[in-house]
Subunit: 88 residues, 7 copies
Amino acid sequence: MKVQPLDERVLVEPLEQEEKVGSIIIPDTAKEKPSMGKVIAVGTDEELKKILKPGDKVLFGKYAGEEIKIEGKKHLIIKLEEILATVQ
Amino acid sequence: MKVQPLDERVLVEPLEQEEKVGSIIIPDTAKEKPSMGKVIAVGTDEELKKILKPGDKVLFGKYAGEEIKIEGKKHLIIKLEEILATVQ
Amino acid sequence: MKVQPLDERVLVEPLEQEEKVGSIIIPDTAKEKPSMGKVIAVGTDEELKKILKPGDKVLFGKYAGEEIKIEGKKHLIIKLEEILATVQ
Amino acid sequence: MKVQPLDERVLVEPLEQEEKVGSIIIPDTAKEKPSMGKVIAVGTDEELKKILKPGDKVLFGKYAGEEIKIEGKKHLIIKLEEILATVQ
Amino acid sequence: MKVQPLDERVLVEPLEQEEKVGSIIIPDTAKEKPSMGKVIAVGTDEELKKILKPGDKVLFGKYAGEEIKIEGKKHLIIKLEEILATVQ
Amino acid sequence: MKVQPLDERVLVEPLEQEEKVGSIIIPDTAKEKPSMGKVIAVGTDEELKKILKPGDKVLFGKYAGEEIKIEGKKHLIIKLEEILATVQ
Amino acid sequence: MKVQPLDERVLVEPLEQEEKVGSIIIPDTAKEKPSMGKVIAVGTDEELKKILKPGDKVLFGKYAGEEIKIEGKKHLIIKLEEILATVQ
């Protein structure tokens, strides 16, 4: 079973605090806290496929995306324009 | 009798909870719950026909589309841009 | 005497419940009830003429169009983008 | 003395009820009552000149246009996009 | 000393009631009263220069433009799109 | 030390009342009072460089731009589209 | 570990008051106070790379960008269009 995002959307699994990369910490006090997640699947848009691939870690705005559950785990479907940065 | 959506619209029959695909569960607590449905007919747009076909299962936002009844069953007419992903 | 819609507009005569096509029923409880009507005249736009012709039955959103009366009968002038589907 | 509308604007003289064309009656109860008028002058836009000419009778939305008086008579300067249809 | 409007803007000197052209009277009761003025300078846009020249009398919406004083006289800097018509 | 505006922005030093050019006076009662200033630096946009240069006197809307201080003096960074006219 | 902004975004480290360049002081009373920062990383957009590079000092609006922490230090991810000027 597979969720394939359409167009410029990305399926992202949010990372728990302890999984977050190294020293990036997103403060609780930020007015619009960006969150971090792992890319699970990229949409059908050709340009998008050049920018992101499954496994990439990404930062996105607090209110970005729509929430679904896959095998009991929370995921988000987020538009590319709402993804702020990759984290390596 | 046939409903033929115009342009980039899709006629979708929402899936009941028990019909939903495998392990995708849409939580009641999500701020904008996406829903799942089966594509019944695709619009007249040529690009749309390459992306979706009757029988495809799709995820869409909670407030997406306009509701009609066909032979007593609820259906939705949804624009492509409101369809988040396909589910296989 | 003739009303000729301009551009991408369509002159539509709304259908009474009993005239509606077969088994499509538009529920009273839908948040934005689409309505059904018969196309009387299509606008001057060339693309529009390929999509709709007089006599077609169409579904449109509850608040679509502007109301006029012709020979005592209510009609609507609706933009193509507000027409959801044709019904055959 | 002459008022020459600019661009896609049209100078229209609203028609009194008794002058209105044949059987088109615009009901008082319509949420956005379109009105009828006679085209007095068309704007400088070349495409507009192909669509409307002085003497044409047109339907337009209730709040369309800006009001001026010429020789004591109320007129409206209306944009083409606010003109719904011609009446013949 | 000279005020040169930029782009599609026009410098206009509003006309007092007694200077207004012939029989055009702008009623006090109109919801958005257009006003009349004389063009003093046209902006740097090439297309604009083909449409208006200094000395032209123009009609514009009541809230159009920004007010400045030149040698004690009220003037307005108005965008072309807010000019409704010329008056000859 | 130098502030170089980006894109279509202009660095402007507002003029005190006594420095204002000749007879242009901006009334206190105008709903959106335009102000006058001297261009200090123009942005990186090529078209902008053809329109304005350092030393030009410009009129701009009351709420235009963002305020900074350079060597104790108030300056504004204003977008070209908010500059109404040059004054010579 | 590296944060790579996407598209036209820039990773900026805000400058403390004492680090600010020379005589530019941003007053507390400005309605929308621009702030100053140092560019840490530029996005993937080719045009952006011609305009800004790591180490550049930039001015940006008070509400620009989204806040993250890297190794305990506050950073901002800001879109190019929200960057007002460079400071040299």
